[in-house]
Every structure is written in structure tokens, then in C-alpha cells.
């Protein structure tokens, strides 16, 4: 088992090195010249040249990469071209909001999706099943931007039940969490339904039913534990994706997370910030996958570490 973990960790490290090389090169493939952008429109070519030198952009590419990677290993991601603040400071100020929203979003997804998926599976082919799957389709295909604005308009502006966006209290998190929940629950509900159907057709379920175990107990005690496995894997992936920020939802609800910052940085071609966000996202996705892989065998003893 330890060999397995070690191997996965080494793989993860290699992925991250690859990501750092690619993001570094991508940022240099951009047509924008950061020195010229900082210099502004009244700058003479000599001024631009001086700023390029200050930024170290006139050094050979491998040297620049080495400096970048060396900084990264020491927790230094450079300074934002636009805000002039350290990228790590910016990321640190944004991470808590993103973590909260990711957790809330996943909770809402599960609260909505698990009951729906289970009910749909139990009532397979009946009207309830079809209605549930229509909802799932609706959720999957609704654009987060439109859904978020509609929720905000009714619950925030019209009914004044929740604030019009912002951050701080539990009330602030309801709508953004719900928006992620509704749009994400469709996937979860469909996976839950098919997984449940598969488990319900297993021999041991029939045995349990034959023994006279109540339907409720069959579902909660016997079927659910196995049917939920694919959901765990999905949560692992979701954590990774959400940690890079939920750009649209964060923008609509004025949620001060990483996604909002990434969106601003992309518009302003603030390369150090973009690279910082990509790095955080890559680390989060790698960790999310790793966790899902490691938790699996605990829940299902049939899976072995190899």
C-alpha cells in the first residue's frame, strides 16, 4: 500500500512539473508584451526596454524558467503586473472564499442529487423517474450565468430573502451554492440512478429482500453503500475543478474567489496571476484525484492497491 501511495505521489509531482513548464511557455506564447503594457501609452521605446530589464524578460528563456521554478519551490510566485502585489498574497486572500463555495456547492449537489437519483432508480420507468430526469437535464443544460441572475432577481431583488451578492455570512452563500448545486446535481443524479439500478439488480439485494428486510433498510443499509462509490470519485474531481474557481458563479454573485481573480487577470493579461491560478488549480486537481483514489479502497474492500 505504501508503495502504491509513493508511486502516485511521484506521478503527481511529475504532472505538476509538466504543468509548470507548459504554463510558463504558454505565457510567453501570448502576443501581448508585458513590459509595454506596464509602460503605458506615453512610454518611449527606451522606457519599455528598461521595464523589460526590470522584469527580467530580457534574459534567456531557460534562465527565466529556472528563476520561476526556483521561486515557486520557495513559495514565491512573483508579483502581479497590474496590482504589484505578491501573487501568493492575492491567492491567500481569495482561497477561503473559493473553498467555502466549493464545499457549499458540493453539499447542495449531494442534497439535491442523492434523493433524486435514488427515487428515480426505485421508481424506474414511472412518471417520477421521468420527471426527475427532466430536472436533471434542465440542471445540466441551464447556463450558470442565466440561472444565477434569475435566482438573484427573485430571491434577492424581488423577495429580499438574501443579499444581492457579496460575501461574509451564511445567507450570502445560499444562492451561489444553490446555482452550483442545481447545475451540477443533474450529473450526480444520473450517475446515482444508474449506479443504484446496477446495485439493486445484484444477487445479495435479492437475498436481503427474500429474508424479509424492509425496502427502506435494503436501500439504506445494503444498496446505498455500494451505489455511492462512483459519487465519491466525482466529488474528488469536483473539488479539483472548483478549487480553480467557479468563474461564472463567482462573477454573478460578487464572490471574492479565485475564479473572479482569474477572470480579471486574463482580461488584463496579468501573466504572473494567471500562472499562479493555473498552478493552484493543477495542484488541487491532482490532490482531488489522489484523494478519490486513496479513499476508494476504504469504502470498497474489493479494490486493492497495486
Amino acid at each position: 500500500m505504501f508503495r502504491y501511495i509513493l508511486r502516485r505521489l511521484i506521478q503527481a509531482a511529475l504532472v505538476l512539473v509538466g504543468v509548470s513548464v507548459i504554463t510558463f511557455l504558454l505565457s510567453y506564447a501570448l502576443p501581448a508584451d508585458p513590459a509595454r503594457m506596464i509602460a503605458g501609452r506615453s512610454a518611449t521605446p527606451e522606457t519599455v526596454e528598461k521595464i523589460r530589464h526590470e522584469l527580467g524578460l530580457d534574459r534567456p528563456l531557460p534562465v527565466q524558467y529556472f528563476n520561476y521554478a526556483w521561486g515557486l519551490l520557495h513559495g514565491d510566485m512573483g508579483r502581479s503586473y497590474v496590482q504589484k502585489t505578491e501573487v501568493t498574497t492575492l491567492l491567500k486572500s481569495r482561497l477561503p472564499a473559493t473553498i467555502q463555495l466549493a464545499v457549499a456547492g458540493i453539499l447542495f449537489e449531494l442534497i439535491l442529487a442523492l434523493p433524486l437519483g435514488i427515487i428515480a432508480a426505485l421508481r424506474k420507468g414511472k412518471l417520477t423517474d421521468q420527471l426527475t430526469m427532466v430536472f436533471a437535464f434542465f440542471g445540466v443544460s441551464a447556463p450558470q450565468f442565466a440561472l444565477g441572475l434569475i435566482l438573484l432577481y427573485f430571491f434577492g431583488y424581488r423577495l429580499s430573502l438574501v443579499p444581492l451578492g457579496g460575501y461574509g455570512t451564511l445567507k450570502h452563500i445560499i444562492l451561489p451554492g444553490l446555482t452550483i448545486g442545481i447545475t451540477g446535481a443533474g450529473w450526480y443524479a444520473r450517475v446515482m440512478r444508474s449506479s443504484m439500478l446496477e446495485v439493486l439488480s445484484q444477487q445479495y439485494i435479492r437475498t436481503a429482500k427474500a429474508k424479509g428486510v424492509s425496502k427502506w433498510a435494503v436501500v439504506t443499509k445494503h444498496a446505498l453503500r455500494n451505489a455511492i462509490l462512483p459519487i465519491i470519485a466525482m466529488i474528488g474531481l469536483d473539488i479539483g475543478i472548483f478549487m480553480s474557481g467557479v468563474v461564472v458563479v463567482e462573477s454573478v454573485f460578487a464572490w471574492p474567489g479565485i475564479g473572479q481573480m482569474a477572470w480579471q487577470a486574463i482580461q488584463l493579461v496579468d501573466i504572473p496571476v494567471i500562472m499562479g491560478v493555473v498552478t493552484v488549480a493543477a495542484v488541487a486537481i491532482v490532490i482531488g484525484n489522489l484523494l478519490a483514489d486513496l479513499v476508494y479502497p476504504f469504502l470498497d474492500p474489493r479494490i486493492e492497491y497495486r
Binding site: 502576443p31 501581448a32 508584451d33 506596464i38 492575492l90 441572475l149 444581492l164 460578487a254 471574492p256
Partner: protein
């Protein structure tokens, strides 16, 4: 009778209290912004969002009368200009203290400008101050100090220029020259922009990245009865659409990003909402550059023909009349705007005839660059249609603004370029700001902003002459000279001026202030120092 007296007394009391409340200062003004406020370092901040915020935290020697483009002194009490226009002597006020309690002295002014000229600061304003004697040598590391900035005593500072520059006072009203305390800059280093300490009407109270920036009244501010409110809160991360809802609910006082384009027509048609919108002008011109070094645009007749082919009214209509058609280089708010000049008429037939005269009776093909941010691609398409009508076949390249700017600054890079979203808003209200950076021969260089690559040495000489006219009694003559220069530019036709953008500031009903502060040409969206709560 008793009742009448009582009524009168009551009425007077009521009017008094109303009058008093109108004049009373205090309260918290809330401004919404979508994007984070970047740096508040006056040497570095150079976007429309932080420009006015910096002005409310810091001050320079010069400033403008609120709501106008008229210069007035600020940290300076008075100044003298030598007859040759080369030496400027400023006498500082002696009642100005930084937010940290220290008195401002002349060496602070020198320090602040040398900081801008030091390439390590990476100031986008560096170029404005190279006209000061010794500035170039200092910025290239060849001198310890700028010889042309002399501290005479604690309250007197003198600038010596290489050449006379009639816009020098404007340049000393730019944020880059604003005075910063050395000890605080050294304390915070590169993070000074997030710990601003100045002399201005407001000081920093709280800054939570990505959420809010709060400024509070500076009790030691040197101008009496200013600012008029206790606090200004900038709410960050608010989508313009949501900001409008918040304003309707009374949670926001000013839409920092303006009215969301998708809701513009609806807002303007709504009798209640449109009352909250104030319309003004901007010192801005949107234009198409015609590259004078690319065939067949190197032919003056071709450029003039293109000038007659564009239906500018239609383009303004396309953007819901958020702009007025332009017939010349300068916008109406700019001193030197020529009210007697009418420019080229919209006349496709005459344009065709002129093209034929130039030897292009069958038209030609060319490329038009533009920013890919709405509405610019739509405007480019309108230009494309208009030019197709006279037989000119235009291919549109809508790209990221930074890429378009790059193409414009490369010789032969962009035959035609629509400037919308990129250029040109005046840095300061003097006609030379529309000449030197975007039309002068010297700016037709790689990485420059003269995207037409226009070069007319005669006009360069006239512009240089205009800049030597610094005496107050010469100003009328100077503006006449600028009018002559810009008439010749229009004759040479390196541009097709398309429109001047208007400004729409939407604010809550409770906000008020002196005439014009909501469309102050120097402050976007509003002059924070002058704004009041009813």
C-alpha cells in the same frame, strides 16, 4: 392669528432644517466596481478606475477647478514662470500634512518626481517628465539627482526645462507627480500601492482584497469643508447588471462601471431611472487610422476619399447614441476645438470620384484592425459596409486590444485601425496631448501610438512653437495656432475621426454636489472630494 403664526414658524423651521440638511456633510457613499482596484500608488496607477481614487488620497502642485478643465493650484500657493518659459518656481502651502502627521516640504516634491523617473519604479508616467533638465540622465542612471528640480527652501521648489512646454502645468496636475512621503514608501516598498499615505481629502481605512476598499475623511485636510462625506466605500466584484439592481434597492450610490450596455435603452426610457442619469462629455476621440506608409493609403486623395465614405451618424445610432459624430481630431471639451470647422461631408459619390481621380476607380483591398471587445467589431463592420459602397474591400481583424496595439505600433503592421476601446482619451486637457503622442513624427516609431505613421515636419515645428507660448496673454494666439495645425492634419487626412464618446453617470437620488461633478472631465465616475449626500 395664533395658528397662522404657528404655521409660519413651523414652515420656517422646516425650510431651515431642509436647508441645513442639504448643507450638512457626512454619510457613506457606496460605489460599485466589477474589477479589483489595482494599485493606489500615484506613480504607477494609470487606469480610469484608480485614477480618481488616487486623486482623492494624494495631491500634486496643480489641480483643476471641480467639474471643469481649468487649472488651479493645489499643494502650491502660487507660482511664477520665467519669461523664456524654461523656469517654473512654486511656493508651497505651509499647512499641508501627510496622513501620518508629517508636514510636507519641498524635498518631498523632488523625491516623488525622482521616484517616477527611476526605472525601478516602473512608472508608466516616466515619459511625461523627461522634459525636465537632467531627467533623462537621472533615469538612465548617469546622475545622482535630477539637476532641473531644485529645492530652494522648505517651501519653494524650482523646475528647469530643456524646452518651453505650455502644458507643463497640466503635467504637474497628473497623478504621477503627486507627492508621497519617503518614509512610508520605504516602509512598504513595492506594497506602497496597497498602503497609500498621502495628503488628500481621504485616507485609507480598510482594504479587503476582492471585496471592498473603504476611504475615510482626512480630518487634517488643508481645504476647509472638504470632503463633504465621511466615508466612501468601493464594493468590488459587482457585475454591472447586479449593481443596477443594488442601486434601485438603495444599496449602491454610484455605478462605477456605468450603466450595463444591455440595460441602457431600458434605463433611458424609464422616467424614474433616467432621472438618475447624468450626461456629459469625455475628452475622447475614436478614429480610424489610415497608414500613410502602406499602399494605396499613402495617397492623400485616397485618404480623403475614405473620409467622405463613412456614415458616422449611423455608427452613433448603432451604439444607442452614446457618442456624437466627430469631424476633427480634437473633442469639443478640449481647448482649441474648432467650432467653425465642419470636416469632410458624408458623400459616397464624391468619394468614388476622388478615388477614380487617384487612379483607383475599381477600388482596392485592405485590412482593418480593431479590438475584439463589443461594440468595436460591430463598428468595424459598419465601416466595412460603408467602404464597400465605394468599392473598397476591407478585411476585418478583430483581436485582443494588446495585439491590435502591437500591430499599430509596427511599421506597415496595420493598414487601417479602428481605435475604439484603446485610444484616445486625453491625459490632460491641452491640445498638445492629441499631437505629440499620436500624430507627431517622433511618435511614428516602433511601439509608438502614431498608428497612421503620419509625419509632417512642418507641423512638428509649428507644434513646438505652440509649446513655447506660455505667457497668459499668448493663450488665445496659441489656441489659434493649434487650430491651424489640426486643420492641416485633417487636410492630410491620416485619420477618419468617427465619434466622441459621451459619458453617462448613474447615481442614487440622495447624492448631490456642485454643478458638473458627476460628469467631471478629470474624474471618472465622479469627483469624490466634492460629492455630497442630501
Amino acid at each position: 392669528m395664533k395658528r397662522v403664526v404657528a404655521t409660519v414658524v413651523l414652515a420656517v423651521a422646516l425650510i431651515m432644517s431642509l436647508a441645513l440638511s442639504a448643507a450638512a456633510s457626512g454619510g457613506n457613499v457606496v460605489v460599485s466596481f466589477k474589477s479589483d482596484v489595482s494599485t493606489l500608488d500615484p506613480a504607477i496607477g494609470y487606469d480610469w478606475q484608480n485614477w480618481s481614487i488616487i486623486k482623492s488620497i494624494f495631491n500634486g502642485l496643480m489641480d483643476y477647478v471641480p467639474g471643469t478643465t481649468k487649472l488651479r493650484t493645489k499643494l502650491a500657493k502660487s507660482y511664477e514662470i520665467s519669461p523664456d518659459g524654461l523656469t517654473y518656481t512654486f511656493h508651497l502651502r505651509d499647512d499641508v500634512v501627510f496622513h501620518n502627521g508629517r508636514k510636507v516640504v519641498a524635498s518631498d516634491v523632488k523625491y516623488s518626481l525622482e521616484r517616477v523617473l527611476n526605472p525601478e519604479t516602473q512608472s508608466p508616467g516616466l515619459g511625461f517628465y523627461l522634459g525636465i533638465k537632467g531627467a533623462k540622465a537621472f533615469s538612465e542612471g548617469e546622475a545622482e539627482e535630477v539637476s532641473g528640480i531644485k529645492v530652494i527652501d522648505d517651501h519653494t521648489i524650482q523646475f528647469v526645462l530643456n524646452e518651453p512646454n505650455a502644458a507643463f502645468l497640466h503635467i504637474l496636475a497628473l497623478n504621477f507627480s503627486f507627492v508621497v512621503p519617503k518614509e512610508e514608501v520605504e516602509k512598504y516598498g513595492k506594497d506602497f500601492g496597497h498602503h497609500p499615505v498621502g495628503t488628500g481629502a481621504f485616507r485609507l481605512k480598510e482594504w479587503v482584497l476582492g471585496q471592498r476598499l473603504v476611504l475615510e475623511r482626512n480630518p487634517d485636510y488643508f481645504i476647509p469643508n472638504r470632503p463633504q462625506v465621511d466615508q466612501i466605500t468601493f464594493l468590488i466584484g459587482i457585475e454591472p447588471t447586479v449593481a443596477l439592481l443594488k442601486l434601485q434597492r438603495g444599496e449602491v450610490d454610484i455605478l462605477g462601471d456605468g450603466i450595463p450596455p444591455a440595460r441602457f435603452v431600458q434605463v433611458m426610457k424609464d422616467p424614474k431611472l433616467s432621472k438618475l442619469v447624468e450626461q456629459g462629455e469625455q475628452i475622447q476621440t475614436g478614429y480610424v487610422t489610415l497608414n500613410t506608409r502602406v499602399k494605396p493609403l499613402d495617397n492623400k486623395k485616397v485618404r480623403q476619399a475614405l473620409n467622405m465614405a463613412i456614415n458616422k451618424e449611423r455608427i452613433c445610432l448603432m451604439i444607442n447614441n452614446r457618442a456624437v459624430p466627430a469631424n476633427q481630431v480634437l473633442p469639443p471639451l478640449m481647448p482649441g476645438y474648432d467650432t467653425e470647422f465642419s470636416g469632410y461631408p458624408y458623400d459616397p459619390e464624391k468619394a468614388k470620384a476622388l478615388l477614380a481621380e487617384a487612379g483607383y476607380s475599381n477600388g482596392f483591398s485592405t485590412v482593418l484592425y480593431c479590438s475584439n471587445v463589443d461594440p468595436n467589431p460591430r463598428i468595424a463592420q459598419a465601416i466595412q459596409q460603408d467602404l464597400a459602397a465605394i468599392g473598397v474591400n476591407v478585411e476585418i481583424k478583430a483581436l485582443a486590444p494588446s495585439t491590435v496595439i502591437q500591430a499599430g505600433g509596427t511599421e506597415g503592421g496595420a493598414p487601417m485601425l479602428w481605435s475604439g476601446g484603446m485610444a484616445w482619451i486625453a491625459d490632460y486637457p491641452d491640445p498638445n496631448n492629441f499631437y505629440w503622442p499620436i500624430l507627431a513624427s517622433a511618435s511614428a516609431t516602433s511601439g509608438g501610438w502614431n498608428w497612421a505613421w503620419y509625419s509632417n515636419p512642418e507641423l512638428d515645428a509649428l507644434a513646438a512653437k505652440a509649446d513655447t507660448m506660455v505667457a497668459p496673454e499668448e493663450q488665445e494666439e496659441r489656441l489659434e495656432l493649434w487650430k491651424k495645425i489640426y486643420r492641416q492634419v485633417m487636410e492630410d487626412a491620416p485619420w477618419i475621426p468617427i465619434f466622441h464618446e459621451k459619458r453617462f453617470t448613474m447615481h442614487s437620488e440622495r447624492l448631490t454636489g456642485p454643478e458638473g461633478i458627476f460628469v467631471d472631465p478629470i474624474h471618472i465616475p465622479v469627483n469624490y472630494e466634492e460629492v455630497q449626500i442630501r
